[in-house]
Amino acid sequence: MSENINVTLPDNIAKYLHTKSRLEYLPMSAVARKYIAKSVVEEMVLEYYRQGFSITKLAEIADIPIGRVMEILRKMDEHLEDIEDELIEIESKK
């Protein structure tokens, strides 16, 4: 299923899409679709992740590979809060 949406783009963006369209031998609509899909998927993954969705669930929802979800989440640059405690536990269990 797909839906037609008419959007008005600023000149600079439209110009860039024209250039890309010529370079990639693709219609401008295809180039625009590619960029929109990429940004929306990233936005969606980050938003749902913050809400508490798991990685495999996100891959299902966004219909992208698990590796791609992890790649997007890498941009958040987060770290585990309990990593030091976990390491201490591993060290003490030896």
Binding site: P65, G67, E91, K94
Partner: protein, 249 residues
């Protein structure tokens, strides 16, 4: 026969040494050389004598026992080990797709030395993602756990945030929580696992665990983590663990 073993201690278990000593040391059962720490020299007279002294399957010590027996029977037939698996019905490392994808991508043979457990869905997820047959084309020892209805009760509000695969993995890990480690890089999955007292490690933490328990060498672990850092979901974690591991003797 005698075997030199290096035993990883399950995070939730207390020291297994006294228990193991009581299990294998009486001369009538073959005898056991003195041991300390995690290095054990085990001598057994015959396989049959061990079969009659199995511990309580629900105890933490069952984990160590299976680990020993895997070594004991490594050079023997697979049938021996199957016997114990059926009796004790226990697992060690339950992994999900994030862990497998991360370890396979690095292309450093880190998981060949251990036996992993998972479910068929995970195998399919990884095979689709990487376009390779894990069981047939790779040198990984991975067993799939049979499917059944699990007792874990996850609230509906949380269930909708997890995939079918996540729910199944949690179900398996919950039933065996005293004797397994769930290895996943999914923060949300770990949070829920912890809520149900399931022990869980991320890939870098699991590597630290493996190094500490002599399942892999320190050099190999460092080499793996250095590669993993380049694309891992939380690179800061890898840096923290790498720095810590480098200080280990």
């Amino acid at each position: 026969m005698s075997f030199e073993l290096s035993l990883p201690t399950h995070p939730s278990a207390t020291s297994s040494a006294p228990y193991l000593a009581s299990f294998v040391s009486p001369p009538s059962r073959g005898g056991c050389a003195p041991f300390g720490g995690t290095n054990v020299v085990l001598s057994i007279g015959s396989n049959a004598s061990l079969f009659s002294h199995l511990p309580d399957p629900k105890s933490n010590n069952a984990y160590e026992l299976v680990f020993i027996l895997k070594y004991v029977f490594r050079n023997n037939t697979h049938e021996h080990f199957k016997y114990f698996e059926q009796y004790i019905d226990i697992m060690q490392y339950i992994v999900n797709a994030t862990f497998l994808i991360n370890t396979i991508k690095t292309n450093i043979g880190i998981i060949e030395s251990i036996e992993l457990n998972t479910i068929q869905n995970v195998i399919e997820e990884v095979e689709t993602e990487l376009g390779i047959g894990i069981k047939n084309e790779m040198n990984i020892k991975i067993s799939t756990v049979r499917d059944k209805k699990y007792k874990i009760k996850i609230p509906k509000s949380k269930q909708r945030m997890l995939s079918f695969t996540d729910l199944k993995l949690l179900g398996i890990a919950y039933e065996r929580k005293k004797s397994c480690i769930l290895v996943t890089d999914d923060k949300q999955l770990r949070t829920i696992a912890k809520h149900f007292q399931i022990h869980s490690y991320t890939t870098p933490l699991f590597i630290a665990f493996m190094i500490k328990n002599n399942l892999i060498s320190k050099d190999k672990g460092i080499s793996f983590l250095s590669t993993l850092k380049e694309y891992y979901i939380r690179p800061k974690d890898v840096v923290i663990i790498l720095n810590r591991i480098k200080k280990w003797r």
